[in-house]
Symmetry: D3
Subunit: 227 residues, 6 copies
């Protein structure tokens, strides 16, 4: 029976889920785990505040428990909403895209820059980077000033993202960029080409690490003997 | 044509390379990159000092340049010897097992413990963890007191590793362990079962991240437009 | 009309709320704000996991919005559940007892020790201390091994708390202690006398700071001109 | 008999003491401690260097010992001169306004900006913030370029303070400001309105915390049993 | 005319000054600066508290100004009392032995241990190490439990120092030790031999750096053009 | 027999060695150690990449072993190539100029700025500063954009260095500068005069510390008893 990674988009936008789903294509390997993307119907159109993030934790954990047959879960929102609750809700691996995107960026540069959506997201992300103990590696976190829905419009979004990327590179000293929204996935290559820095797409980073976790089974013996 | 990840064991021990090779099995996926393990003939029997680590940089970089057809490289020694030189020597991704093992551990616990080989390795690893900006997440680094060759003897090695693992858990507050030598790979499951903490095998962690890098091509556009 | 600080106990234990209420007595000043303590009916009997903490955010924010006539709010659980959501839910000051307890401890010693309830709480608190950027000042976080309900039994709880306090002082180098549960309030004086270190009761610390915020009105002009 | 908090202005400017005294008004509660402000006659007109700060320690400690009937002491200079000496000189609580102002700012924003007086004060304050272990939360420390005496002239001072506040907000990423001189107290509201960030007046922050300490008696049992 | 480094012992113990003076012998080079050691008559018999340290600042700065013909000054007390005031009092280089002892230790090991005199000194030293931004390199700070005067008795002092040194090495992971009192100088070699770790004598470390400063004249052009 | 400090320039440029040799003049004291400067024939013309730095480790260690009669060694390249290997290769003290230059800068200012050669050097130096645990004291690292060879042309180099120095002072908040290349030594005084900040020449800083190590013999007893 095939293993399956469930990628949950905690906002209710099917368009964002489609963007994520397309970004998964290179990671769908013949002998590897299936990768299924799912929209959290109960989520808001976009997660743009702490309240938005906290509000999806309950339905997200419910969804995870309802899909206990999956081999691993990825929470596809850069606030990593409910990540530590979800890890209590299931014995399967759960990975967050902010966590994995940032950790992966550390293999691509010395100081990472975060291309975020709205100014209001910045303090929330600074708290999270600090909780990870990684403030020292953060070059800066600069918002493009567009909400999740507005990101869909490439004419509006891409030029702003490039401007922010250059700012992170030139004024903040970033040598690698992380996209701080799952809905930015389709701009990754264009941004990398324009700014000439490696750009990390965090859902791809998280699913990569999930593939390893599914195949290797780390932690399961620790849990089994603990129970 | 199939993609290939080249895992270079920088010590000259074919036994260690076999251990690594067996650990790669779960990551060999039908549609995924080939994973080839190679012994650095010019390496010492084990890398147990800074001089050992520095001495393999030249042959390691030469080997990498001689295998430019590989899609990515993994340096399979927990000192990550020559990692940054190797990244200058090739335009392909190069990952170190210390780097990837530690970053992966951060998704499995709040404070990681390092099970290292000899007391003399500890300051070298502390410098490296500090250079990564991760000292705050390190619970402790405790040596088992055995060299690379002695690790092969399970009767001697495993009980010592379990003792060190329990010490890291109980006296240092670690909630995840990282094996600090590629030659410890076959003890991973037994250590996890005995200590009841997740245990990260770093070559598996690095090859997992390498699979993603090979499939996703990050950074290549940055490099192309820069040249 | 008199100002009022609403202290919300996010667990459903009326006994814990009574403990908190008694601890408020010295802070009830003739000309100062009223201090009202309220039990969150929807809360669990004790908040002992990340899921417990996350699950109370929605009813907690609802309660805060239903009491908009209060001048300030204190969330009386050492996980500071929903602190940043609550700050988005109201324009009035909201303070968390972990935050204020720890900050106040910094005026009483150079390295603070946390007397926490269960081993499972420690990683959650380490993340929070790190998010505050204060890991460097933390001496240690040691659990007494009792749940919220068991804390009510002084014969069981106080000796364990004293043992943990001495351990934090002697083995971890703490020179001030913080109680990591609102339900420990009535043991503060006895613990201080036994361990001979200052002991911070965090709800008292938070309500003290709330009195200042109510009287001084900081931030209100910033919010008014922003809207 | 009523409790009394003694606020000592360590510079000799009666005008600054009056400014502080007015700022205390909202914290004078019918049933709460009296708040008395005192000018240190032996102090310099303004504390603008390390030598100024160190020179007041002896008379300040003498003054504190001469007022042993007070219930708590606040040192009302942002260099916190003699804070740790004073704590040795009396068994009563002693709080510094830099310490309390900065700790309080941490409840109002993620990164605090310091509005300081002269360029020469900046390294002194950076050392102090580092000693508190809080460098990670500091957005920046920018001087207005005016000495303590010149601060009295609102036409000169306020526009400079607003300019510095905007600079801290826009170029340094501060989301809360701290006034780094007790003599700036009367500009707090205007600065907050102009810059639209919460602004902390540090003597008010310290006296707030002193009210709690007076009412709660923390640490006194630790001291009693130690002697 | 010959250059002269003035080493000021801020306590009034002539015995400690003699100990320092003997420790200077290897640094007295035919063509190098003279090294003169001076007892601060106004100092206490030993500096064992923050008040002791703060109390010597005024006479120390006066002494420095009275010896303006010296080419550099070293403050020979591990509290570095008045270091930053003294730098404002003279345009000549002023170095502190704590500062220079600790910085020098960083070239001899990865984690330094501090052998201090009394338990009460530890928080003061932790604040100083933090102000230097070096907490991450500190293995531990352990007191021998003897005051400055008691240190003179080798039978009492040396065994305690060796015990503390072994504790710092084995339980705290120190790989280099720093003596935290100028009066410990004559025990350096015996401690190093017993504990088998390099031991830094901080007055020697500071005078070494002072020799460089005297010969090289750094900073004098910066000061000249600034005035 | 006279003691001798051997300063090894790991690049093959005799011109750079001459620059270093002239900078040593003030440190050549009648009764002090001889200071001899040597060019590493096997080195590249300039060390401008990680590969350049790693490639000189083997010949550098060989050279050190061939000069075992020297009393101490200084590696005169700001990448401190092979510093930790060299310390394993000889029982004599080995100091790096980056290490000593940065540590010495900490006695001259609160935040140091690094005047480096090429943009590609910056991440390498950031890793090193982080490994030293000193990121918090770093104001910034700004390249002049000239390679080692181009530095010889004062008309090209000095104005660029002054521009970078002013940038570090005004935009990054540096109050002391460190020259990040041994070949910049002859510009030290002019840069200090133009920027009005103390400027550290790192080979002079390292040789100063080496003089102390030679005279004091620290660590030799630790080594003797360990063997």
């Amino acid at each position: 029976m095939s293993e399956r990674i469930l990628v949950v988009n905690p906002n209710s936008s099917a368009a964002v889920t489609r963007t994520i789903d397309e970004a998964m294509e290179p990671l769908r390997l013949a002998g590897g785990p299936e990768i299924e993307c799912l929209t959290l119907a109960e989520g808001p159109p976009g997660i743009e505040s702490q309240r938005d993030a906290d509000a999806v934790i309950a339905p997200l954990c419910r969804t995870i428990r309802e899909h206990e047959d999956a081999a691993a879960f990825v929470i596809a929102c850069f606030s990593d909403p409910g990540l530590f609750s979800a890890r209590e809700a299931t014995s399967k691996p759960v990975l967050g895209i902010a966590e994995c995107g940032i950790l992966t960026a550390l293999t691509l540069g010395q100081r990472f820059g975060v291309v975020s959506i709205l100014a209001g997201s910045v303090p929330r992300q600074l708290r999270y980077v600090a909780a990870m103990g990684l403030t020292q590696r953060l070059a800066g976190d600069v918002p493009v000033g567009l909400g999740v829905a507005e990101l869909a419009d490439a004419h509006a979004a891409l030029p702003r993202m490039i401007e922010v990327g250059r700012n992170l590179r030139d004024a903040h000293g970033a040598d690698v960029l992380v996209l701080a929204c799952a809905g930015m996935a389709h701009y990754r290559a264009a941004l990398e080409e324009a700014v000439r820095l490696p750009v990390v797409e965090p859902t791809q980073a998280a699913v990569t690490m999930a593939i390893g976790r599914v195949r290797l089974g780390w932690g399961s013996r620790a849990r089994k003997s603990a129970s």
